[in-house]
């Protein structure tokens, strides 16, 4: 658990980066600090491991006031992932990951063994360990950054805009990977970003901060979308928040209906119905229109996943029927947008 008690940070130039912050980061959760530049999110993060000391107030990690702990010792017990990974260019990937174990006095052999385990944990092939950071892609470097932060198995992980320097597709992969790792490792993670979509995706709780170092709202992401505390939060959360909040509603109440199917490659004739093409494993492959032409399908959603996916599947489908699949990607049935909206309306009840 990390606790900020009335924490204020004023810099020498007179700017106030953090203003009377009172906030508790629960153990074992991912908490995101999000806000525009100058809102004090990175400053707040860096007060946890004493990269910055507060002007007034107290920061506690697991009940212990950090101001009483020798900074390098404190930092070795707190993982840190920095923007652009911050890997040491002159050290191999394996030695980068082994950094903290080596600092805390492990033997080189044991530290490298641990580093190899961590590369595997973050999904990197062992042979990458011998390379230098410059020989890795941006996404791979970020994974190494995460592995390095986890090397000494710290209970707390600080992540400072860790995925902001990679392209959107890679970023999404890294976010999924972080959520998978967290399910396995159960760390207390503070994650800083300026990207509200990232905050909503990875955060179990999100602290929205405002320029001048004020905490505007601290709530689970669904609540930010449905009940923003003020105009600033509403504007920051952005457009389509009604639609985006559906990400936090599960689709289990939406009944799926049967749909006529056609085996892939089988001959077709015109008919009054839309028919779904499925392969031998019953995985949807596209639609046959009433005039017998083949039309690519819309998005698919997994039964029980968010209702936003169900609605999108229905809206993006050429037939107006959203296709639901099971965990293996096999056809489970179809839904209409009307059905999905009825479920949303009834939940509002």
């Amino acid at each position: 658990m990390i606790e900020f008690r009335d924490v204020t940070k004023r810099f020498d130039d007179g700017t106030t980066a953090v203003n009377g912050l009172d906030l508790v980061v629960e153990a074992g959760t991912i908490t995101v600090f999000v806000g525009p530049s100058g809102c004090g999110k990175t400053t707040s993060l860096r007060m946890v491991n004493r990269m910055i000391d507060p002007t007034s107030g107290t920061v506690l990690v697991d009940g212990r006031d950090v101001s009483g702990v020798d900074p390098p010792t404190l930092r070795r017990g707190i993982g840190y992932v920095i923007q652009q990974a911050g890997l040491f260019p002159h050290r191999t990937v394996l030695d980068n990951v082994a950094t903290v174990p080596l600092l805390t006095g492990w033997t080189r052999r044991k530290a490298r063994q641990r580093a190899a385990e961590l590369l595997e944990l973050v999904g990197l092939p062992a042979e990458l360990g011998r390379r230098y950071p410059v020989q890795l892609s941006g996404g791979q470097q970020q994974r190494v950054g995460v592995a390095r932060a986890l090397a000494a198995d710290p209970p707390v992980l600080l992540m400072d805009e860790p995925f902001s320097a990679v392209d959107p597709v890679v970023r999404e992969g890294l976010q999924d990977e972080l959520l998978r790792l967290q399910a396995e490792l159960d760390k207390t993670i503070v994650f800083v970003t300026h990207d509200i979509d990232e905050a909503i995706k990875v955060g179990e709780k999100v602290a929205v901060m405002r320029t001048g170092g004020f905490l505007a709202q601290y709530a689970p992401p669904a609540e930010l979308l449905t009940r923003p505390a003020d105009d600033f939060v509403a504007a920051f959360v952005g457009k389509d928040r009604g639609y985006r909040s559906l990400s936090f509603v599960d689709s289990s109440g939406v009944e799926v209906a049967e749909v006529p199917t056609v085996a892939e490659g089988a001959p077709v004739e015109s008919s009054s119905d839309w028919r779904l093409v499925v392969d031998a494993e019953k995985r949807p492959q596209g639609w046959i229109a009433p005039d017998a032409s083949v039309v690519p399908g819309g998005s698919l959603y997994e039964v029980g996943a968010s209702i936003r996916g169900a609605l999108d599947a229905a809206l993006s489908s050429p037939s107006g029927l959203g296709v639901a699949v099971d965990g293996e990607g096999r056809l489970a049935g179809v839904v209409t947008a009307r059905q999905v909206l009825d479920v949303i309306e009834s939940r509002r009840g």
Binding site: P72, V100, L103
Partner: protein
């Protein structure tokens, strides 16, 4: 050419040449090593304390403009050594080479990206260990370039020391001019050039050994 063959045929001359060569190596490389250490220390000061930076860089520029012969002559007066003491040459060349190296060292340290030093701090490096484990290794390519210039400059400047009689290959030039005899002058030039090339080659090998990472990007 016949002159050179005759000159080298004498065993005593050959032994004297070897002595001069070894003197030359000693007089040029000791200052190089000492000044690398000094430049790292001063470069760190420049990097760490901004006001020191401007002062030291300015001072090093001034020092480098003092003529070498003048410096060789002034040093005994300043530190009380004998006029012919080889220490004069060693100290003078150390001053020059340090002046030459401080700036690139300070610049190389300043060029280490902030997110890398921040990462090192966040991992729990103490400042001194961070300097030697992260910042200094990253400054090696720039430092090596400076050291190569310094080595060539030292090897040529040691010859000037012969004018105040401190030994080394420069003695061949003073002797050759005095006796109006070309052979020792040519031998002196060739040996100086070969020495400079060999030292430079060794420095390149040393640099490559210290910085395999600097060329890793090319092997992608």
């Amino acid at each position: 050419m016949g002159d050179i063959g005759k000159y080298l045929s004498d065993a005593g001359t050959r032994a004297a040449l070897l002595d001069m060569l070894l003197d030359h190596v000693y007089l040029s490389l000791v200052p190089l090593v000492v000044s690398v250490v000094l430049a790292i220390a001063l470069g760190w000061l420049c990097h760490r304390f901004r006001p020191v930076n401007a002062t030291l860089i300015g001072l090093s520029n001034v020092v480098y403009t003092i003529p070498s012969l003048a410096l060789f002559a002034i040093i005994p007066a300043v530190i009380g050594t004998q006029v012919l003491d080889p220490a004069n040459v060693i100290i003078a060349l150390t001053v020059y080479t340090t002046a030459l190296l401080v700036r690139p060292v300070a610049e190389a340290l300043a060029a280490v990206p902030a997110h890398i030093t921040a990462a090192a701090t966040a991992m729990g490096f103490r400042p001194l260990r961070r300097f030697f484990s992260v910042e200094l290794p990253l400054a090696v390519p720039v430092l090596a370039a400076g050291v190569r210039v310094g080595s060539v400059s030292n090897i040529s400047l040691v010859s000037v020391g012969a004018l105040i009689g401190t030994g080394g290959l420069g003695t061949l030039f003073t002797d050759g001019f005095r006796q109006r005899y070309l052979a020792p002058i040519i031998i002196g030039i060739v040996l100086t050039l070969v020495l400079a090339l060999v030292v430079d080659l060794l420095l390149v090998l040393l640099r490559d050994r210290l910085t395999p990472w600097a060329r890793a990007g090319e092997r992608l």
